[in-house]
């Protein structure tokens, strides 16, 4: 009987430690899943994404907000800021689609970024955050 209790206590202890470890990892150690490993929710052109937001911003925000998109577009322009973030402008300089490659991703994609040319077709993957004057895509990476 006593042996059974010890066994039960050991199981509870192991499960408790496991749960505590998981909670610690989930809250403090877990890293954001890299964009490369995220499954895209939608694949479309940057033009049609902007058209959706222009037609009905609220509906488009509900549909695309926080979602992972793969966008095809012609690269209008690009610039690097003093922190190393690279911003790609698609569709229109003011009212179009703006994709931000953060500085860490920019280092990883150095060769693809240095090969960028205005006017070239690009395929971008990133998270849609919503619309200001332009549709904002963050956590971006260049697919091709």
């Amino acid at each position: 009987m006593k042996k059974k209790w010890w066994r039960l206590a050991a199981i509870v202890l192991v499960l408790g430690l496991g749960a505590a470890g998981f909670a610690y990892w989930y809250g403090f150690l877990r890293k954001e899943k890299p964009i490369e490993k995220m499954k895209a929710d939608f694949e479309m052109t940057a033009d049609s994404l902007f058209s959706s937001f222009s037609a009905d911003e609220q509906a488009a925000t509900a549909k695309f907000g926080g979602k992972i998109l793969i966008l095809d577009a012609s690269l209008l322009s690009f610039e690097k800021d003093d922190k190393g973030n690279v911003t790609l402008t698609l569709v229109d300089p003011m009212m179009g689609v703006t994709c931000t490659i953060d500085s860490l991703q920019a280092v990883r994609q150095k060769s693809k970024i240095s090969a960028l040319e205005e006017g070239q077709p690009v395929t971008i993957k990133g998270r849609c955050d919503g619309m200001l004057t332009d549709v904002k895509i963050s956590k971006c990476m260049i697919i091709k």
């Binding site: 877990r30 911003e57 926080g66 003011m94 619309m131 200001l132 004057t133």
Partner: protein, 187 residues
């Protein structure tokens, strides 16, 4: 609705800027907020702020998407968007105001000028009047603006459960940094 009005205001600002050489803008402005307690430091950064500055009137607007704030820890970002800012319901935060003491800035002379900014700050669907000190740094065809001010989350209807309130400072320090370029409308 308020977000839509703000968007339309920005569009109007753009369309009426045709031919004008007094409007500056950025789509990559920086806003961060910081909270320090002995338990935890919390910092989030947003480098995708859209802002317009009209140097003839002093009008200043900026708008941010709450989802674009990046935290060090994914769990913090999830709590920020889902529990505190309710980003699905209130996707944007904005400021609409003026540089109150515009006469003290010579936009033809490069230099760093102290300014006072007043206006309405909208966070979590709540609008409040704010006033803050800042600086404008004038260069050729470029203006940099910077301001640091404090906000109390509860003033904007952001409810933080008592069990975790001690992890957050009473006031959040907001730092705003904009590098404006001269707005040149499309011909």
């Amino acid at each position: 609705m308020k977000n839509k009005i703000f968007w339309l205001t920005l569009c109007l600002a753009i369309t009426t800027a045709v031919g004008a050489q007094n409007r500056y803008f950025t789509k990559t402005g920086h806003i961060d907020f910081y909270s320090h307690t002995s338990i935890e430091d919390i910092k989030a950064v947003n480098d995708q702020v859209t802002s317009f500055l009209d140097i003839s009137t002093g009008d200043l607007v900026f708008s941010v998407l709450n989802r674009s704030f990046q935290f060090e820890k994914p769990l913090m970002q999830e709590h920020f968007n889902e529990n505190y800012m309710e980003s699905e319901k209130f996707p944007k935060s904005s400021f609409d105001g003026k540089i109150a003491d515009l006469k003290g800035v010579d936009f033809n002379k490069p230099g760093k000028y102290p300014v006072k900014v007043t206006g309405k700050l909208v966070i979590h669907g709540v609008t409040r009047d704010i006033e803050s000190a800042g600086t404008l740094t004038v260069e050729k065809d470029k203006i940099a603006g910077e301001s640091v001010f404090a906000v109390i989350p509860e003033d904007y209807g952001i409810q933080i459960p008592a069990v975790v309130r001690q992890k957050f400072a009473d006031t959040m320090t907001i730092t705003v940094r904009m590098n404006y370029q001269l707005y040149t409308p499309k011909k």
